[in-house]
Symmetry: C2
Subunit: 340 residues, 2 copies
């Protein structure tokens, strides 16, 4: 019998197939082609093909927009939003709109076009995570911005047009709807139970262990109870913290370790699947709307990894009703048993 | 300057590109291959390849599960939900689940494997719409079911595995989250404005005309102000009605006319694009939860047509934050000017 499972935070029901579960080998996948270094705008010595960098980790004597860097952040050449201008909020009849003000940046994770994130040493991954933090803190000084969305697309089906390893961020003057829903759900739970929902989730996941993928002193990786997608993984910090950018140096190393191991397991289990990951964090600290006054207690930042093994049908987008052909317990068991 | 636009019902912000707008010819599309009639389980005289029919429009002397039908409804051979059993609602620690009880049916729209819905005469399309209504009414007699989701996938990227023209329905024991959000948004608007949001939308769309696709005495087709996808179209009845299944015979003909014209325009403008459409309607009338007591006044059923021209990135699913490269005003202008 298939099961209907409810996401405990946002209340979305998901159909989870329990018979005829699809196993790793049964997903047809497009192989991700490596990049041709000569045509790669993100390679070392091709710096002139990107807009000027806004941040970089680079060798002491190297110059901006020249070689000698480890991580480089540049504005997106075709940005979805523009940095200049005011918000220009206005109505248009019954509708509401504002100018598309925001930042859209690319985080080039390495000069090496063939070195995937999970193949980097822990220090390399930690440098990428630190870059996320640095850019987030910097952009949130701009009081027009309410949220910084950090995400990584791997593979063309996941939306990555350039194969060179990179992440992206979009700073927006509004808080995305799904973030608001999570805040509201977490607040409601705390109000009712007087306990954090994320604390309860971690307690149950680490105790039951059936959906656990891996864990260390700082982080727990697990396949969520109401996974929408096969092999979906959530990485959550053990320490209560609503804001990703409050991550401490030792936690960055522990997160790098968890992220590396999780992505390695997914790559090995599913033959380098295309995926997206997203950092879900609290919106800008100030101005904090009154109804999120308890955000530090209610909400916890986390990372969602969404492998692209099945089509996302418009039907699912249109209704919020997902059908997941692989139970998270089976996905987690498979990922746990993969030896790296 | 790109624009941020807010969906007036559910409050989702969408980034709408206004420069470099993508025009119909610029979307790369996979052509949908026609079916091989010999291997087509939905063809006439292949009735034995489907589970026994639950409903059909057929010639007077024809026999169930034999030839001589115009529309045929059969259970899905690989259903996402099972009809038998009780709901078995229970907790599992902090999580909630229930048995995957429900119905999953296929509406075979014509015996002709090559006759797409928009190529049928008005009477043929009306027969398909009437079948939706008949199945919806029948399934909602089962008190376990709260919602009947009617949808049509066209093309493999849109989730259709069998090319023979068909729609599907899923009856579920829960109301999908996005339906709840629409009900809540519509109720909030009515509470604040003392007017129906759908009435206001129709008034503005028919008056401004910039996002209008086509209209007749019963229905209006328009590209919504905060379209998430290029060439997204909403079809809405002029008469206030929360429940699709309350549609009257003359309205069925008018809807068939609007649906035919809209799909023909999309097919011609975008070279037979893959798409999904979804009927959004109110949940089961009884038991009606107290907080939806005003549903008949607040909410209006409608159809959303979502062409699959761009990838749906996991990023967008994960955050509810959509980037639409074609302004709905340009899409609507293009569709209006297409001559059928």
């Amino acid at each position: 019998m298939p099961e209907l499972r409810k996401d405990p935070v946002v209340g979305r029901w998901v159909i989870v197939a329990t018979e005829r579960a699809r196993r790793p080998g049964e997903f047809v996948q497009q192989r991700v082609e490596p990049v041709d270094p000569a045509k790669d705008p993100f390679s070392e010595r091709n710096e002139q093909y990107t807009p000027p960098e806004v941040f970089a980790f680079r060798d002491e004597r190297s110059k901006p927009n020249g070689p000698g860097w480890q991580v480089r952040v540049v504005p997106n050449k075709f940005p979805a939003l523009r940095v200049e201008g005011d918000l220009g909020k206005e109505g248009q009849g019954i509708y509401d709109k504002m100018n598309g003000v925001g930042a859209h940046e690319v985080i080039i994770e390495t000069p090496n076009p063939l070195l995937q994130l999970e193949q980097q040493p822990i220090e390399g991954i930690a440098r990428v995570i630190e870059t996320y933090k640095i850019r987030m803190v910097d952009l949130l000084h701009d009081t027009r911005f309410r949220y910084v969305l950090v995400f990584r697309n791997f593979g063309p089906q996941a939306g990555a047009n350039i194969p060179h390893p990179h992440s992206q961020l979009i700073a927006t003057p509004v808080t995305p709807k799904r973030i608001k829903e999570k805040l509201a759900g977490a607040m409601q739970y705390y109000g009712y139970k007087e306990r954090s929902i994320y604390e309860d989730i971690l307690r149950q996941e680490t105790k039951e262990g059936t959906r656990l993928v891996c864990e260390n002193a700082g982080f727990v990786a697990f396949c969520p109870f109401a996974s929408r997608f096969p092999f979906e993984v959530t990485i959550m910090p053990r320490r209560q913290s609503a804001y990703f950018q409050d991550i401490q140096p030792n936690e960055i190393l522990l997160l790098a370790d968890t992220l590396k191991l999780t992505l390695q397991k997914l790559a090995k289990a599913l033959n380098q699947p295309q995926y997206n990951y997203i950092i879900t964090t609290a919106p800008a600290r100030y101005p904090r709307p009154g109804y999120w006054a308890t955000i530090d207690q209610d909400f916890r930042w986390h990372i969602e990894i969404l492998p692209r093994l099945t089509l996302i049908a418009g039907f699912e987008v249109g209704t919020g009703f997902y059908i997941n052909p692989t139970p998270p317990e089976e996905a987690a068991k498979y990922l746990r048993e993969i030896q790296i």
